[in-house]
């Protein structure tokens, strides 16, 4: 049995489509090659600026509409950096809406259970405040006014929940907290490339959903950075990802669309190659199941600038804190990076699979998830060490290698937005 496990990573020869010798800085000369500062990773003041300059201006993903299968299905979402919570709910007209999760009577958080900082989901036909029993319909309108004769004028009947603009990208829900309303639609914000990128994906078949979250003592951007380059895999995950060492640790060129980006990991994993027994018997690995699902995913066409048939994963990063990943031969992962403080964050992962047709497929999916989570423990474990190192301020700037150009781009996008907001403040326009 053991002799089928390939322990020597050098045995793999991988076709890379000629992309591995690419020098990213030549493709994106505007990004430069200078050392960069992580001031906005270690500064409480930057955290305050990010609230206004980024999270109150960008479209923010809060989940997928499959969590809302029926009229009245809802979930709440805590968005700590905005000091708010929202309710996302499917109305009687089937439309999904978002509302600030606050009762307009006395300001009590409306939907929660047990601990007001925890998220809640369920199904109901109206939201009742725990404090005085006022009830709000699924469209946010006042529905049940307690003691109607005791209110002044129309102050009671005028109480309605405050709606938050919400739009859907292939079922993935985004909200926008821009003062006065969004300056652009979600489609305009994403750009045509990413907006259309999932058109060929059979998303309706992705009915199997697992989700997890964790809190880490690091800035939210530090995890974004970790998941924006594959170079660390060869060291941090060298034991757990040995079968992939020669495949994904040199990235083909990234496509940038404004602050967003599309990145491809290419290569092929030979069908008979496994780096340990569990991978072999489960037919899964850190890239998830290796059994093609009922409808295998074709390489998302929009991801490729040129012909590229061998691919492992495509990652769409929607600024500021959402990543959508498609893995060959067929599962989907999303990451959300939620700032809690300048040095604390919550990480959320969602995995979607097509319905398994037999036990072997289910076993590959579940074991793939377990292997992914072991790798994620390694990633998360490193973050606090990075935060501690950066906060010691031993260095004021740091180099990035060519392979880390996505990080260079991301931090440039953050810096630009913080600077623009500061200029607005200085000019009295914010």
């Amino acid at each position: 049995m053991a002799n089928t496990v390939n322990q020597n990573p050098d045995d793999i020869i991988v076709a890379g489509g000629g992309c591995y010798d690419q020098r990213h800085y030549e493709d994106h000369p505007d990004l430069g090659t200078d050392l960069i500062s992580y001031e906005h990773v270690i500064s409480p003041a930057s955290f305050e600026l990010e609230r206004e300059a980024i999270f109150k201006r960008c479209w923010i993903n809060v989940g997928r509409d499959t969590r809302l299968p029926k009229v009245g299905s809802y979930f709440t979402k805590e968005i700590e950096i905005l000091k708010t919570s929202i309710i996302v709910v499917r109305g009687r007209d089937k439309k999904v809406r978002a509302f600030h999760n606050v009762c307009p009577h006395r300001g009590n958080k409306l939907v929660w259970e047990g601990d007001p900082s925890e998220e809640k989901s369920g199904k109901c036909m109206a939201f009742f405040c725990k404090y005085h029993g006022l009830g709000y319909a699924l469209d946010g309108k006042m529905q049940v006014l307690k003691d109607p004769d005791n209110w002044f004028g129309t102050q009671g009947e005028d109480l309605h929940l405050v709606e938050v603009p919400l739009e859907s990208w292939n079922g993935f829900l985004f909200v926008n907290f821009t003062k006065g309303g969004p300056k652009e639609t979600l489609r305009e914000y994403m750009g045509e490339h990413i907006w259309n990128a999932l058109d060929d994906l059979p998303l309706d078949l992705y009915t199997e959903h697992v989700s997890g979250k964790g809190e880490i003592n690091s800035n939210w951007k530090t995890l974004h950075d970790a998941f924006s380059e594959a170079w660390h895999g060869a060291t941090l995950h060298s034991e757990a990802m040995v079968s992939l060492r020669n495949i994904i640790f040199r990235a083909p060129p990234t496509r940038f669309d404004g602050p967003h980006r599309t990145a491809i990991a290419c290569g092929t994993v030979p069908d008979d190659y496994y780096s340990f027994e569990l991978e072999r018997v489960s037919r899964s690995s850190v890239t998830g199941t290796r059994i093609p699902p009922a409808q295998p995913i074709e390489a998302p066409r929009a991801a490729f600038n040129e012909e590229q048939t061998d691919w492992v994963a495509v990652t769409y990063t929607v600024f500021p804190n959402f990543q959508f990943q498609v893995y060959a031969p067929g599962h989907i992962m999303t990451y959300n990076y939620w700032p809690l403080a300048y040095n604390r964050m919550r990480f959320e992962i969602n995995q979607y699979y097509q319905a398994p047709r037999n036990f072997s497929e289910l076993f590959a999916q579940k074991t793939g998830t377990a292997i992914v989570l072991d790798n994620i423990y390694q990633d998360l474990g490193t973050l606090e060490a990075t935060q501690r190192g950066l906060e010691s301020c031993v260095y004021d700037s740091y180099p990035l290698i060519d392979e880390e150009h996505n990080i260079r781009h991301f931090h440039k996008m953050v810096d630009e937005r913080l600077r623009a907001y500061q200029e607005e403040l200085a000019n009295g326009n914010a």
Binding site: S211, A240, F276, L278, F359, F363, T382
Partner: protein
Amino acid sequence: MTLPSMFADLERFGDKWDLPDYNARYEARLTSSMDELTDFFETILNRIDAIKAYLDDIPLTEYSDEDKCLARLMFAFGVVGPAVEIFRTQRVPDSGATSFTMTLDTDIA
């Protein structure tokens, strides 16, 4: 715990490994000795072809309680594997400060 009769010899793992979800499985991995993990992993590994062949023959929606127990042992095997084969210790190295919980984990009904 009762397993399909041809796998009755694996019932000795039931008390520890017939668990409902990933969180419980990872917790059991952390609180087991490496000897326990290795015994469980290697024993299942030796029977895995027969287990998969047996469970693959039954539509997922028609599992008996015994079949579901067997499936849950296999899912635990998948969580235990990296500890035995890769890390040779229960906890993922250097993950001491990390808290992570699965909040939605579809399992065999």
